[in-house]
């Protein structure tokens, strides 16, 4: 209940402000441009349509992870820099409840992003292959990744106590997570590429989307990657709990 109050406060301060909500209009505009460009290309096979759906899913996932990292970086370090953490600590809520509330707000942010993307996914994927199963995977894996990135970044923010440094480290990790995008198919086939793919939850998610939407493969193929992503989610939650319990003014 107390965590829900913190979550409401965070949503009011970070999401429902004109500046905070600009993200959503921009996201929607980018998705509009992408979808329109995709759908005006008449020389497309069914496979290309799956590819379009896959690309939009990747974009939404990347955006969810990025926004999770930014939300997380500001969570505790921002409160410290604004001098508002003391007031928060004086209120009758535990540190874990504060962290849970902030994490809930970050998840609400992901939920809004996902809701914004749904009409575009339906329009782009209509008549193509694996639309609904793709959306289901995006909902699950996107949520896990949003929790992972937000919780990790929040933990980092409470340890480093500086928004700037938390953001720099978070962006560095985001680039590292997105590294499979920079690797060619041949490089990803090498032992190095395979290790990167295996240990990287973001790569796990995009490989799963590829496998589900384009290759029409079943859950048996995805189980390992889904388990890895879920493992990272648990690990990042543990990291957040441990970091927050050590947080002092």
């Amino acid at each position: 209940m107390k965590a829900a109050c913190i979550m409401q406060k965070e949503i009011r301060e970070s999401i429902l402000t004109p500046k905070g909500s600009l993200w959503y209009i921009l996201t929607s505009m980018i998705l509009s441009v992408l979808s329109y460009l995709f759908l005006t290309n008449s020389e497309l096979s069914l496979l290309d349509q799956g590819q379009m759906l896959y690309m939009i899913m990747n974009f939404i996932t990347a955006l969810g992870v990025l926004m999770g990292l930014v939300f997380g970086a500001d969570a505790f370090a921002g409160e410290i820099e604004r001098g508002t953490l003391e007031a928060l600590f004086l209120s009758p809520v535990t540190k874990v409840e504060i962290a849970t509330g902030k994490l809930g707000a970050a998840l609400a942010n992901w939920g809004i992003l996902f809701a914004i993307s749904l009409p575009y996914l339906f329009v782009v994927g209509k008549g193509g292959q694996n639309l609904f199963v793709g959306i289901a995977y995006l909902a699950f894996l996107g949520t896990f990744l949003a929790i992972t990135s937000s919780a990790f970044s929040m933990g980092l923010s409470s340890r480093i106590k500086s928004v700037k440094n938390s953001l720099i480290i978070s962006f560095f990790i985001f680039l590292l997570a997105g590294s499979p995008i920079f690797l060619s198919a041949a490089q990803r086939g090498t032992w190095f590429g395979r290790i990167i793919d295996f240990i990287n939850p973001f790569a796990g998610a995009i490989n799963t989307f590829d496998s589900v939407v384009i290759d029409s493969q079943g859950f048996g193929y995805q189980a390992g990657r889904v388990a890895t992503i879920f493992g990272y989610t648990l690990l990042s939650l543990w990291f957040l709990k441990r970091s927050v319990s050590r947080l002092e003014m």
């Binding site: 929607s28 008449s42 193509g128």
Partner: protein, 177 residues
């Protein structure tokens, strides 16, 4: 006198060798059904390949697979069947003497154009792979993409989000006042 004998010997050898190859090839025959398919992009079809053992001996450990080639003018190329969700090679353990084996290759038609499909059977005891006759496949383009569908969303959604967020901001300001 030697020359005609040599010439006749060479002809005899050539005929014998040719007969040997032909008999090996005819030990197994392959056919594909249906011989012609006309379908739309996105349809699912199934090719049935029949492998017949014409010999008096059983045939063991043969591999059969389907191949698809694009024969559309200017786009001629073999197709990667993984994209078409087609089954890969089928291993047949044994076909009894004068027996047949029927294999199925379902596939989803991904792209439009003119194609030919054929079954190839590989027997490790023979040097020559055996292919069936070609089945003609004509896939008609079905354009599911309609840019007009995306326009209301591409234009409308950012506007609706903007309006909702503006309303929330106005209500909050009024409350604060």
């Amino acid at each position: 006198m030697k020359r005609p004998i040599l010439f006749l010997s060479m002809i005899f050898l050539a005929i014998t060798a040719n007969y040997a190859t032909a008999s090996a090839a005819h030990r197994i025959t392959a056919s594909i059904d249906p011989p012609i398919i006309q379908a739309n992009m996105g349809d699912k079809i199934t090719y049935v390949g029949t492998i017949t053992n014409n010999s008096d001996e059983p045939v063991n450990n043969i591999i059969a697979y389907v191949s698809l080639a694009n024969v559309t003018q200017g786009r001629e190329s073999p197709m990667d069947l993984e994209d078409w969700s087609a089954n890969k090679a089928i291993k047949v353990d044994t076909i009894p003497p004068h027996g047949t084996y029927k294999g199925q290759w379902p596939m989803r038609l991904i792209d439009s154009g003119s194609y030919v499909a054929y079954i190839t059977v590989v027997d490790k005891n023979d040097n020559t792979p055996i292919s069936s006759a070609m089945s003609r496949l004509e896939i008609k383009r079905v354009l599911r993409l309609n840019p007009n569908n995306v326009l209301p969303i591409a234009i409308g959604e950012p506007m609706i989000i903007g309006m909702i967020l503006s309303l929330i901001a106005i209500r909050r300001r009024k409350r604060i006042k």
